[in-house]
């Protein structure tokens, strides 16, 4: 059991993910797997946070992901996978503003494997982005 419970790997033969803040591979050797529903910029009452404000929405989503992973007994550093769904009408130029917010929440030394796609729309108008996560927590 000396092997770490999870490993983050970025093979040199793949594009360097360094500045983008993700790992190409996350390997789970043991522990509990936690699935977190796509989080949206809503507070506990369901109210939209940050209407038209991309950074405020991203901040709320990461705050929600933190609440969700902690409810399962984990931390943000336990997240092994993030999937981002950006709405098509969001200006591509503001997307990099996501990174510094993300990097305050995730473990930047061992960032999760990640996928980022653009979708036509989300469940409710006004949501600019949705992020779902998978975590692996030591038993």
């Amino acid at each position: 059991m000396s092997k770490r419970s999870k490993e983050f790997i970025s093979p040199k033969a793949l594009i360097a993910p360094g500045p983008a803040g993700y790992s190409h591979v996350a390997k789970v050797n043991r522990g509990a797997i936690v699935y977190i529903s796509g989080q949206v910029p809503s507070d506990a009452s369901g109210k939209l946070i940050g209407e038209g404000d991309f950074e405020a929405q991203v901040e709320q989503i990461f705050a929600n992901l933190k609440i969700a992973v902690e409810a399962a007994g984990g931390t943000m550093a336990d997240i092994i996978k993030l999937n981002y769904y950006l709405v098509a009408d969001v200006d591509q130029a503001i997307v990099p503003k996501l990174r510094p917010i993300r990097d305050r929440y995730i473990n930047v030394e061992n960032p999760p494997a990640s996928t980022f796609v653009v979708v036509s729309r989300l469940m409710r108008p006004g949501w600019m982005i949705e992020i779902e996560a998978i975590a692996a927590i030591d038993a």
């Binding site: 977190i36 796509g38 989080q39 409810a71 399962a72 979708v119 989300l122």
Partner: protein, 133 residues
């Protein structure tokens, strides 16, 4: 069943899903995105959203049962709707979903709307992860 389904009070109240599902032991089962096709590959319910959702859930059930799992073992569900599906039709999806899922312990879920799927005519695709003891 050892899967846990959690809803922190500090997150918005979910409609028919759980914010968090936790699998502490057992076997994980990944099911490919299911579409509204019958065993011959024929599109079921052309232009009929509800008929397609029904067929998709039937297919998910068949797939899970092939792995020794049931609908109640689903821990994660990802739903992909095509953009031409009206927002007003989404409640119809929920009604069908709730006949198939364990509504007391529904899976963690994500729903997004995409430009299109692999074949024209498919209005919805749903993939799931299940965990069985």
């Amino acid at each position: 069943m050892s899967n846990e389904f959690l809803n922190p009070a500090t997150l918005m109240a979910p409609f028919g899903y759980s914010h968090v599902s936790k699998v502490s032991k057992g076997t994980l089962v990944y099911i490919a995105g299911q579409v509204s096709a019958d065993v011959s590959g024929k599109l079921v319910g052309e232009g009929n959203f509800e008929a397609q959702v029904e067929q998709v859930f039937k297919n998910l059930k068949l797939a899970l049962e092939a792995a020794g799992a049931s609908m109640a073992d689903i821990v994660k569900m990802n739903t992909y709707l095509v953009a031409e599906v009206s927002q007003d039709d989404i409640p119809k999806l929920r009604a069908i979903r709730d006949r198939y899922l364990n509504t007391a312990k529904p899976p963690a879920s994500t729903l997004v709307v995409v430009s299109r799927l692999a074949r024209p005519g498919w209005l919805v695709e749903i993939e799931v992860v299940a965990a069985i003891d």
